[in-house]
């Protein structure tokens, strides 16, 4: 299983801080597609993704147990 984390505006759109999905062997791009079409969380498309706290590209393949976070445009400082 994989834990998917949402933050800021994305968390508000998702209505959840996190959800669990089995994405083993699938790509981040596929996960974005799933979240946006099946869960209507379309803001993932403007977000960066991080796997286990490191930024990754859409091509990244998820392994079982990975934590995936979607990072909307940041505004710290």
């Amino acid at each position: 299983m994989n834990q998917i984390l949402f933050f800021a505006g994305l968390r508000e759109q998702a209505g959840e801080e996190s959800i669990e999905l089995d994405m083993n062997g699938r790509s981040i791009g596929e996960l974005k597609e799933t979240l946006s079409s099946r869960y209507a969380i379309d803001k993932v498309k403007e977000s960066m993704a991080a796997v286990n706290e490191e930024f990754v590209q859409d091509e990244e393949i998820v392994k079982d147990g990975d934590t995936i976070a979607f990072i909307p445009p940041v505004s710290g400082g």
């Binding site: 933050f7 800021a8 505006g9 403007e46 445009p73 940041v74 505004s75 710290g76 400082g77």
Partner: protein, 151 residues
């Protein structure tokens, strides 16, 4: 090294951050303090809320410290960012960089704040009289992995 880069939900104390970089071989310490401003483009902010992906944010702050070390080997850096509700004039971030000579302290400190705005997963929600909104930094509306180093 990790204890010099952290996210806090308490009011920030400038002196504590400066103490972390004060040392016998530094003659210059530059600090940058980001505070909550009341007016942005004529719009009045009542208060802000900051949210972080804490574990990753602390890791990214430390990474910024490492990038600085590569570019300015004599620099020591400490950074704390606050989360939660912040009122006008409250401190959101404190950066302190010590270096033997002053020019480097300015440059490295400036580098740190620019990188925070690029790669650290922290978000602010503005609360105005007539609404609220999560703010995305203009820099990050293009998609991709933030570049390392030369931003």
């Amino acid at each position: 090294m990790g204890e010099k880069y952290w996210i806090s939900d308490k009011p920030l104390v400038i002196q504590e951050v400066v103490d972390l970089v004060t040392r016998r071989n530094a003659g210059a310490i530059n600090t940058f303090i980001g505070t909550v401003r009341e007016f942005t483009k004529g719009k009045r902010t009542l208060y802000l809320e900051y949210e972080a992906y804490k574990a990753m944010a602390e890791k990214k702050l430390e990474e910024i410290g490492e990038e600085i070390k590569e570019k300015w080997p004599d620099a020591e850096t400490a950074i704390v960012h606050r989360v939660g509700r912040l009122d006008i004039t409250d401190i959101a971030v404190v950066i302190a960089v010590s270096t033997p000579h002053r020019a480097d302290s300015y440059e490295a400190s400036r580098y740190a704040i620019e990188r925070i705005k690029e790669i650290v997963p922290i978000w602010k929600k503005e609360h105005w009289e007539d609404g609220e909104q999560w703010i995305g930094d203009q820099k990050e509306t293009t998609y991709g992995i933030p570049a390392k180093g030369d931003a």
